[in-house]
Amino acid sequence: MKFVSQIVPAAIFAALAFSAVSSAAEIGQIKNTTGQVFLLRNNQQQPAKPGDTVEQADIIITGANGSFGMTLIDGTRLSAGPNSRIELKQFRFNPTTQEGESLTELHRGTLTIVSGQIAKRSPGAMKVQTPTTILGVRGTRFAVKVEE
């Protein structure tokens, strides 16, 4: 019993530590911004600037004169033009095995993508969603526009 009582708290602690790390993990970085660009995280909106790190579930919004470019840790490059809303819905990447999967949603606006290791390693594991369709990325450069 003593053995169990020591193991259980340790396991719970490990689970908590893991979830805390995985929910706040950096998955990429804003590289450049022009005009109005905002980062929406946990319903808090703040101006985005070069060097800001991004996490899973973040939403990036550009104004009428806004644009930005960002890189993700698998080497994917994303950039968006004015009046865009991009949500980093899911992102998982193992730098050692280079394996992972991602789902990015373009709610509106323009988005250009150069895919990275996730799509290279597993064609189709990188997906881009829009209000009316879903894209499976085999590679590498493409652009998407969504009109409301």
């Binding site: 644009s67 950039s79 209000p131 879903i134 969504v146 009109e147």
Partner: protein, 200 residues
């Protein structure tokens, strides 16, 4: 009368299409890679889908999921995505620097590469640098782990001296585990005494 009505409707439809007021919601275009080639993107799900695998091939998806494909010109694509394309970050670049034996001194022949690294890092916005040190197989594993980290730290220090934000500089040592050129243990190999740098 019927033909006239058709004509009017067709003209109206054409006008709506040109002015972008149709029910098209999503527009996808495959772009050439930097080398000029292109790979592929699938559009749609199981019920209705298409594969774009030629440069500037496009798919327009309407609000009911219907897909229409055609090919546009490079100029049309560039016009439609001017701002997004202009914001595309540059491609990550890697550099390899070689080191003197049992030393954290960069070899004279690697000096131009070191200068190229400094120049690349200086011109990138919000630059991130990953520095990974390696050794050849002369010496103990523990000594080589230490030496490889010292080599990586030496490069990191030079970058910090040039004003790079240390928060975005990562240095690790991999010892003799990942030789560029596989050798028996205790064999000197200058090409394995190196630091690999990825600039993103």
């Amino acid at each position: 009368m019927i033909s006239l009505r058709w004509l009017v409707l067709n003209t109206l439809a054409a006008t709506l299409f040109v002015s972008g007021c149709t029910t098209v919601n999503t527009f996808v275009v495959l772009l050439p890679e930097d080398g000029g080639a292109a790979s592929a993107v699938t559009v749609g799900d199981n019920s209705q889908s298409t594969v774009l695998d030629k440069p500037y091939s496009t798919a327009a998806v309407d609000t009911r999921g219907g897909i229409e494909t055609k090919t546009i010109t490079a100029e049309e694509a560039n016009r439609m995505f001017t701002d997004a394309l202009a914001a595309q970050p540059p491609q990550p670049i890697s550099f390899t620097l070689y080191f003197e034996s049992n030393s954290i001194e960069v070899t004279p022949s690697s000096q131009p590469m070191l200068e190229a690294l400094f120049a690349e890092v200086a011109k990138r916005q919000a630059v991130e640098v990953q520095v990974t040190g390696h050794t050849d197989r002369v010496g103990s594993d523990a000594d080589n782990d230490r030496l490889s980290l010292q080599r990586a730290e030496a490069v990191r220090t030079m970058l910090i001296q040039r004003g790079i934000n240390s928060n975005f500089l990562r240095a690790v040592g991999r010892g003799e585990r990942e030789p560029l050129i596989p050798t028996p243990d205790e064999q000197a190999e200058p090409r394995n005494r190196r630091v690999e740098v990825i600039v993103r």
